[in-house]
């Protein structure tokens, strides 16, 4: 039964993939609409969603401590000295993720039917989407680290393929490659972490690992495993998370990943894939909680990333880039939560974030779609009237991410902030970082919202015509309806927006403080957080007030500032240096380019030309040359003179006779 969840998208992928490869791709075929392929893909993911729901209900029917469903398909790698099954395990944590992935996934699939309706190769697109869902579901369902890793790399692949979906544009293709490579850097850590786990615990299965550590609900180090080992494991695995979930220093790929079609950004680069790092940390919470050092690192990286990304988001002009940095920032939040031991809060934020960020991205997609591929918010404005549904749903998402009660973002964000302050791993500093980020989040999101939907339009109606050239051949969908001007998107797109808006609105109620259903539900996997005594309970309300006030402040500032564009321009000129640094994303890409990419490239070039060819191969060839040379030299002895030949003969005799006499005497 569990296997059906990933199986459906796999089948969808195979159908659409073969359809694309053998029918659609052939040059000269007439363009196919996205209808059939989209329907197939949607049916597939919907199937997963239905199965997920059924299984969720089944789980709910079980007593909490035995809420685990397992299915072993076949032995994957099993031989003397090693055993690994292709096995799935559905427990209270993974069931949440399957629901989110397949649920949000279904919505985004539906959305894509509209969004990709004018694309040349929708078969390919939906095949990729299905493949992604398959991999993502494998990731959350895997019963052991290697299977998780299978999904982990699988989603990376899909991310790569979808970012570079419009491959004709070299920049987009590069962005895809960058995503893959940066993720590979993370996977490097992941792999090593996995090896270390295997060496230390002799297993890679989550349950076996858990039972090696957790005894009677209490995590303890087994015999012979040092804390440093656990710290090393956690940190190495966290390197993997940095890659996949875009944390400092490996976050650089995510903003570039916005090159992909917007539904992809929503599904992969906001709602699901990027949260798999949090999933893994939550999954291995028993391991992380053993290592305070690792926890501190996770929290610090998360907090810093949250703040850092927010600073960049403030200055970005590309609607998707803003959202991308906001995603990085929110992911940082989640890790902050995990780092302070609030795994449940982290997961909570994953879920709410999935709702509102998917909503925001899809809304942005709707805007872009309506604006004929315009992504610069400076060239938008006043879309409220043109796109009422998009505006309304986007507004809900905006409020949710700003943390305004009672929208979903408020609950999860507040939970994180509170625990960052109150938990034993937490501190005022972390809280401060989080709160400051919250203010900035409210600020830049409001800026985005204002510039896009409010104010006066800063574009001409015929504007759409001159855009879309960048996508080359693969991006036909912008040409189809340019004369129509800016317009609201079709229902296949706004429908999902509305569902997501609803979810953003009510999603938070699953985790209302002190009566959190979520915490209760996750208790078998993540032990309920023990309230610590050192912070007064009233503080919670105080802090909540502070954060809401902060959000309100941010919103207020942004609305004031961006009502008129003159003010921000003045700020930008006044603090030109700071602005430039922020606008250029702290020059991190350039730094990597200078310190890693170019040196390694130069090194490789040098190794090839100056070492491989000039040294190694030359040494090899020098044997041949030396033989040739000595041959040339020796052959000159052959002078052709009889007498010289006789002389050599004589010399030979004299030498040998001399040796004989000397030896015998």
């Amino acid at each position: 039964m569990i296997a059906l969840i990933p199986l459906f998208p796999l089948i969808g992928f195979l159908i659409n993939g073969s359809w694309y490869a053998f029918v659609q791709a052939a040059p000269g075929r007439r363009k196919a609409g996205s209808g059939i392929t989209g329907a197939i893909a949607t049916m597939a993911i919907l199937g997963s969603f239905v199965v997920s729901c059924l299984l969720f209900l089944q789980l709910q029917g079980l007593p909490p401590e035995s809420r685990v469903l397992e299915q072993t398909l076949f032995p994957w790698m099993t031989f003397a000295g090693f055993k690994l099954d292709m096995a799935f395990r559905l427990d209270s944590l993974s069931t949440l993720f399957t629901l989110v992935v397949s649920g949000v996934g279904t919505l985004i699939h539906i959305y894509s039917i509209g969004y990709m309706s004018h694309d040349a190769t929708p078969g390919k697109f939906f095949a990729y989407l299905n493949l992604f869902c398959f991999a993502m579901l494998m990731l959350v369902l895997g019963a052991s680290l290697p299977i998780l890793f299978l999904g982990w790399e699988g989603v990376g692949l899909c991310s790569y393929l979808l970012i570079g979906y419009w491959y004709s544009d070299p920049e987009k293709a590069s962005a895809g490659k960058k995503a893959f490579v940066v993720n590979r850097v993370g996977d490097f850590g992941f792999l090593l972490g996995m090896f270390l786990i295997f060496t230390a615990f002799g297993t890679l299965d989550f349950e076996a690992l858990r039972s090696a550590i957790v005894h009677g609900g209490h995590a303890a180090l087994p015999e012979g495993v040092a804390v440093t080992t656990v710290t090393a494991i956690c940190l190495l695995l966290f390197v993997g998370c940095m890659g996949k979930s875009a944390q400092i220093p490996l976050y650089v790929w995510l903003p570039d990943a916005m090159a992909g079609p917007t539904p992809v950004s929503a599904l992969i680069h906001a709602a699901t894939m990027v949260t798999s790092g949090i999933y893994m940390v939550a999954r291995l919470n028993f391991l992380y909680s053993l290592s305070p050092t690792a926890m501190a690192v996770v929290a610090a990286v998360g907090g810093v990333t949250a703040f850092f990304a927010a600073t960049i988001a403030i200055t970005q002009k590309d609607i998707k880039k803003v959202l991308a940095y906001s995603t990085v920032s929110q992911l940082g939040y989640m890790f902050l939560a995990c780092g302070v031991g609030a795994f449940t809060a982290g997961v909570f934020h994953v879920i709410t974030h999935a709702f509102f960020k998917a909503l925001l991205f899809l809304g942005a997609g709707s805007v872009i779609h309506g604006m004929h591929e315009e992504q610069d918010i400076m060239k938008m404005g006043g879309l409220r009237a043109k796109m009422p549904v998009t505006f309304a749903t986007f507004a809900l998402g905006w409020l949710a991410i700003c943390g305004i009660p009672p929208f979903s973002g408020f609950f999860s964000k507040d939970e994180i902030l509170w625990l960052a302050f109150s938990s034993e791993h937490g501190s005022v500093l972390l809280w401060g970082l989080g709160a400051l980020t919250a203010v900035m989040t409210a600020f830049y999101m409001t800026r985005l919202f204002t510039l896009t939907f409010l104010g006066k339009p800063r574009f001409s109606e015929a504007h759409g015509e001159k855009h879309g050239h960048g996508h080359g051949h693969g991006d036909d969908h912008s040409h189809g309806h340019a004369p129509a001007g800016v317009h609201e998107s079709p229902f296949s797109m706004t429908g999902p927006l509305q569902v997501l808006a609803l979810l953003s609105l009510i999603g938070g109620f699953m985790g209302i403080p002190h009566m959190s259903w979520l915490e209760h539900w996750l208790a078998p996997v993540i032990p309920a957080h023990q309230a610590t005594g050192h912070v007064a309970a009233e503080m919670e309300w105080v802090l909540m007030g502070v954060s809401v006030a902060g959000a309100a402040l941010g919103i207020f500032l942004a609305i004031r500032l961006y009502a008129d564009l003159e003010l921000p321009r003045q700020f930008a000129t006044k603090w030109a240096g700071l602005y430039r640094v922020l606008f250029n994303k702290w020059y991190v890409d350039e730094l990597y380019e200078r310190t890693l990419v170019r040196p390694i490239h130069a090194l490789s070039q040098g190794l090839w030309k100056n070492f491989d060819v000039a040294v190694i191969d030359r040494i090899v060839l020098s044997f041949g040359r030396a033989s040739q040379w000595s041959g040339q030299t020796v052959r000159t002895i052959q002078t052709g003179s009889i007498q010289f030949y006789a002389l050599v003969l004589l010399i030979g005799i004299v030498l040998s006779v001399g040796y004989l006499i000397y030896g015998l005497a």
Binding site: A21, A26, F74, L192
Partner: protein
């Protein structure tokens, strides 16, 4: 049938050669004649593959160590005999060879336009030589096949190769030969030692396994003999810094030649280590473990780096082979079951995925007559099917989970980690750089706008080319998803290999034979 039963291996082994000799009689003056010749050759390779499937079916993993064995005296005065037999380690490489041969032949249909008779003769001749090397149970017989396969490969590169084909062919031949000649001396020494220790000359492998050679220190017999063997195998693998023949040979060889070179010939190095160098000289293996681990790790990163900056696709793939085969080496020298299994699997993987890469490069070369990366760009648009196939193979090459490459690299790294963490860390860097150079190449060739006019009119894959690629792609996924299918026939053989290579087998023997205990005690 009874005869076939008892001579199954020999029949399979020599079928291609005999078949090829008949093929020589087909007149190739007309297009029809040439087509007949191609079909005839293809049928021959398919028949061989069918027979090898029969072998697969007969082979019982739980049974004796070497099955389907045959032994005939060849040169009894020197203890040399014709002995063939099959164990798990032979089995899959044998199948890999017979599986790839039809693919290679099919891929040559259009690429080879002149002297086809010789070409197809040599291909089948090569098959016999390769198969022989994989089933030979007599060290000397192995050596004969090992050298024998140089002949057809030499001509394949030299006659049908690219611009510098003669240089490449010569380099390939000489490089490999120089390495293996010392092995020949070592083989003689072993046979002689057998005479000293057991009273008769023998080059039979199982006899030689019983030898006890002093193994203390770098100047000991084991150490020197191991080096002689290892040199031959390391060149074939090829291990850094003995790899420089490979880029030349790979680049210049015709497509089928590159495929076989990469897919099978390189495996002979790894196979040689597993079958001969390790079990024969267990102490020396321990002695040189560190060195080879280091070289393997260097090869992985170095190969990847150098591959990154290659302007020629084939050369890039060639250097990627250096990198990939580095994994095999570190896996073997880690001396534990996980890494050993991974290593062996990696050999199969590399055979499939690099073979497929060469096929793809060959296909695009046939269309454009260049392999310069800069001559391409945006090919995906004109050749979507090709792009799909290329993508899949690329993914296999960068070891994406779900493809075959992952299983190998994962197991190798996991096993190596237990033997030497530093090696594993460096080797794991290869995971990153592997993605860098492959994807970068892929991007430059397949993505971006089509900015060369010649590329606008490229034809997508033909039916024949699909028939070539689909088996490879199926293999890629089958091996990635159901590795256990392969492991199950391998497991006992790998265990035996490790038992011998770590000296465990000797220790067991020593316990029952106290006279020789002195040596075995040092086995660790």
């Amino acid at each position: 049938m009874a005869w076939l039963d008892s001579h199954l291996l020999t029949t399979t082994l020599f079928l291609p050669l005999v078949w090829a000799i008949f093929g020589l009689m087909i007149p190739t003056g007309t297009p029809g004649g040439r087509a007949t010749l191609r079909t005839w050759t293809l049928l021959g390779s398919i028949a061989t593959f069918a027979l090898s499937l029969l072998i697969y079916q007969r082979y019982d993993a739980a049974g004796a160590e070497f099955q389907l064995a045959e032994a005939i005296d060849w040169l009894p005065a020197l203890g040399i005999s014709y002995q063939v037999g099959m164990d798990g380690i032979s089995l899959w490489l044998f199948l890999l060879t017979t599986f790839l041969m039809p693919v290679a032949i099919l891929s040559s249909y259009q690429a080879i336009e002149h002297r086809e008779r010789e070409y197809y003769f040599l291909l089948l001749f090569l098959e016999t030589a390769m198969l022989g090397a994989f089933v030979a149970l007599d060290v000397f017989l192995f050596y004969v096949f090992w050298e024998l396969l140089l002949i057809p490969m030499y001509f394949l590169i030299g006659i049908w190769g690219g611009k510098d084909r003669i240089y490449a062919a010569m380099k390939f031949f000489l490089y490999t030969l120089v390495g293996s000649l010392l092995m020949l001396v070592a083989i003689f020494y072993l046979a002689y030692q057998h005479k000293v220790q057991f009273g008769s000359y023998s080059t039979t492998l199982i006899d030689l396994y019983r030898l006890r050679l002093p193994g203390e220190g770098y100047a000991s017999a084991q150490s020197l003999l191991f080096l002689a063997f290892a040199l031959a195998f390391a060149i074939k693998v090829p291990l850094f810094p003995l790899h420089t023949w490979l880029p030349d040979a790979h680049v210049q060889a015709p497509t089928a030649g590159s495929v076989i070179l990469a897919a099978v010939l390189l495996k002979m190095g790894g196979y040689g280590f597993m079958r001969f160098a390790f079990p024969l000289f267990p102490q020396a293996v321990l002695l040189y473990q560190v060195h080879f681990l280091a070289l393997g790790a260097i090869a992985i990163v170095y190969g990847a780096w150098v591959a990154m900056v290659q302007p020629d696709i084939k050369k890039l793939v060639a250097y990627s082979s250096v990198s990939h085969m580095g994994y095999v080496v570190i896996g073997l020298f880690s001396l534990n079951p996980v890494a050993a299994m991974g290593s062996y699997y990696q050999m199969l993987n590399h055979g499939i995925s690099t073979g497929a890469l060469f096929l793809l490069v060959g296909m695009i070369y046939e269309r454009r007559h260049t392999r310069e990366i800069s001559a391409f760009g945006g090919i995906t648009r004109v050749m979507p099917l090709f792009a799909v196939a290329f993508m899949i193979v690329t993914l296999s090459s960068i070891a994406l989970p779900g493809t075959n490459g992952f299983i190998g690299e994962f197991l190798i790294l996991l096993g190596t980690w237990q033997a030497s963490r530093a090696t594993a860390v460096v080797a794991a860097l290869g995971v990153i750089f592997g993605a860098v150079y492959m994807l970068w190449m892929f991007q430059r060739v397949m993505f971006g706008p089509v900015n060369h006019k010649e590329n606008e009119s490229l034809k997508d894959l033909s039916f024949r080319e699909l028939a070539v690629l689909i088996p490879m792609i199926v293999a890629i996924f089958a091996m990635g998803v159901f590795p256990n299918f392969f492991f199950s026939k391998l497991d006992p053989s790998i265990s035996r290999f490790l038992e011998r290579s770590t000296g465990a087998a000797l220790k067991v023997e020593a316990a029952s034979a106290p006279a020789t205990a002195v040596y075995a005690a040092k086995g660790e």
